[in-house]
Symmetry: D2
Subunit: 264 residues, 4 copies
């Protein structure tokens, strides 16, 4: 069994904000932000009657090898208390407008858990989340535009994450993310996306950090119905399997090797 | 000075074939092949009054740091006798319908010259040339279609080959080359191309092999006018500078290190 | 079941050479070569009563998931006829003094089989074999010296090939292979070797070429008893599992995508 | 001119600590720490009459293309105020016992400056510095032991940082740093170190992060005289040249590309 934690920002889905989640904002700006968040609720519910993460959860539950725990930022300790993190094999992460709400301290716990072996599957707008940026060491910058037609190409068909995925599949509507994408050279560039408006993007990439494996996958705009798409579901499921740890790093010691191997 | 050899296949431009350049072909097939080759001449000349490689040569001659020698497959020893190869710093290579005419022996001389330090800049259809495949160890396979609109995106703007190139530029007509592209993981993916027909491609990539640097760049279909494009010219010029050798490997010995460093 | 072919040069073990295996040699040189080959037989048999490859074969046969076919260069078609190659999932390869006996034609069949998905596990002196050099595109050059103490360090403990291997293990006697090692940047550098004489070496490295996975592992000098070592056996066994294909490339077509995806 | 800032921790050299540089320490522990720091002063001064960084500075000043600013942690704003950082092309960094004194805020300014294009040359114990770990996303863990004989091998002789460096050179005494070294796959592994006690280490490695280039180099233990070594000096000088920025990223925007390129 792979213990999967689905971490979700959730704010746009319930149309609620907590003041402390938006540090340093003025009263007026906070009010506008709340209005924006409330304005999206209806559209998201229409696209995702079960919710964005609820839809992905339902799909992943069909895989009997996954033991799934859905959490969100409104839960105590931002949904990720130590004992849950320490019992997570693969962390799937969707965040967007509240990326800054996550304290650095929590972001670093996630970083260290990945370095110890936990798989990490950041989705969509998580390219600007703290765990993504702190693990990769780059800004994650890109260009974007809402609602374009997207064709996802399989660039590395031999990778286990691409098993059973055709040469390409189409998403009628997805947020456009375009190059240049500020990421370190990927270990593998598995998927690349073509947008009808004229851009392209490395949309499915892997890296390793310490003992942990990372798979970023672009689809998942909150008002586009792509977590209903069976290929998207299959790719995320296969990404979780690929990222699942095989061996854990016991600690982060830098041991003083007092006795020389040559003198043992 | 960088000693640049521009190697060109040339057959479609002059509309001539030599029988020995197409080994193992039947008389009937050779006749059809000749007709095809002759049928392109007029179009190529209309697009390139100076010739495809002549146009590129003219552009590169403006760079006073390059010392250029244009050669083609109709010259003795396929245009690349040993003394020229051994005096080449960067080999620019355009080949297509006569890729198999190059003997393995010559292809391996090129491979070894790259391993010793020579830069190699294969263009366009050279993705299936013997030097390209033998250096990279992959098939270079891709999908293709003639004459599509192409938008070239700069994915790694900090790379010296991309200096002064905008976020993207457009080619009204280029042959479409599409993923999956069977190449080893590039050291850098500098350019990526978007085609209006719906495909995309890693169109500007680098690798190192031994002491030598390799830069592949996709534009250059023989009937599309893209070697007139100043960005394409600039990219190839900068690719030559980047690939120019800084140090040469003296030999390919595997020396028997008879005396242990610990006993010297 | 993984169908494993163990390909072995075998000449030094039986003390016999066939003239056609050493192309272009003079009569006198051939005689000296034969004497050298005969002179090793006794030492190899003392170290490996079952033979070098026989010892490795015996160890690998304990793994019920492997179906093993041992072959050698004295068999018809150099031990690797088409129907065997086409039914091989992972090719383990040990060659040395007869590297040049393999025709380019056979070497390219192996290269293409790897590009289609076959795993390839070149051992020890196979760093100068044609399949190794043609797949990697580099010379494989290194420095060497017979019979030194070797300590193998695990540099990437999280890699599946390193599962269960300690931080280091020791080989009382192995041929020294030293840097610089002329290879392309490895996907992973799993093992590194320290030699008492003063050198070091990247001794366990992986690459991918097309759909195929490659794992090179250094230990295996013919007169050193290291294929009796349980860690060496375990690493090669795990290398075979890691390199086993999960998906095969059907062909090497470059298809003309006549219909644009945008017009389908 | 390359504007180089040499950042130095300095504490062990002057034998002084400031309480606020060691957050969260008890009075007793602080006293012991101070004693340790004072105990090293004499040895460092014996080895480095000009100081550790003073010796490196003197060597680098011979390069007329470098404009050098030496700073240390005792200066205002930890020696690295914003206006200096924003006028630094390459930051050379030596830190050890006070790695935690650097506030996260400053570490992130450095990270962002690198992502914008600044070169970063962390030396020796800076493998556990915040800028190193935050840029690479790994723990930097390794094993160590004081005072061993070290032989530095050139693994990638064609890299500009290795120009003019022999196949190996020797350091009579250096701190041993041993594998496994927890770093992401390097872009290039230029140097590797052999220690007489039995360990080895990837001691000269490069990475890119955003527009910035990073070169880590291991030698530089505070009580070993290796910044007097002309090869070590030359390598650090060449590392600075290699890491010098060629183009700067203007900002970290994720622009909303409102107009589709296809509609311009």
């Amino acid at each position: 069994m792979i213990r999967v934690t689905l971490w979700y920002e959730y704010a746009q889905e319930i149309g609620e904000l907590r003041r402390e989640m938006v540090p340093g904002i003025s009263d007026g700006d906070f009010q506008h932000f709340e209005e924006f968040v409330r304005s999206r609720v209806e559209k998201i519910h229409r696209v995702y009657p079960l919710g964005l993460m609820g839809t992905l959860e339902e799909a992943l539950r069909k895989d009997p090898e996954l033991e799934i725990t859905p959490v969100n930022i409104y839960m105590p300790e931002y949904g990720l208390p130590d004992d849950l993190l320490e019992n997570t094999d693969v962390l799937v992460w969707w965040s967007h407008i509240l990326q800054d709400a996550i304290p650095d301290e929590l972001a670093y716990k996630i970083v260290q858990r990945v370095q110890k072996g936990m798989g990490f599957v950041p989705l969509h707008s998580a390219h600007k989340s703290k765990p993504f940026m702190y693990l990769l060491g780059t800004s994650g910058c890109l260009q974007w535009r809402e609602d374009d037609f997207c064709r996802v190409w399989t660039a590395t068909p031999s990778h286990p994450i691409a098993a059973g995925i055709p040469q390409y599949f189409e998403l009628e509507e997805e947020e456009m993310y375009g190059e240049p994408f500020d990421i370190p050279k990927p270990d593998d560039t598995i998927f690349m996306s073509w947008y009808r408006g004229g851009e392209l993007f490395r949309s499915g990439c892997t890296w390793t950090r310490g003992y942990g494996r990372i798979f970023y996958f672009q689809p998942g705009h909150e008002t586009s119905p792509n977590y209903h798409n069976p290929y998207v579901q299959k790719i995320i499921d296969q990404g979780i399997h690929w990222a699942a740890p095989t061996v854990w790093r016991p600690d982060f010691d830098c041991p003083n090797s007092l006795t020389k191997p040559e003198e043992k």
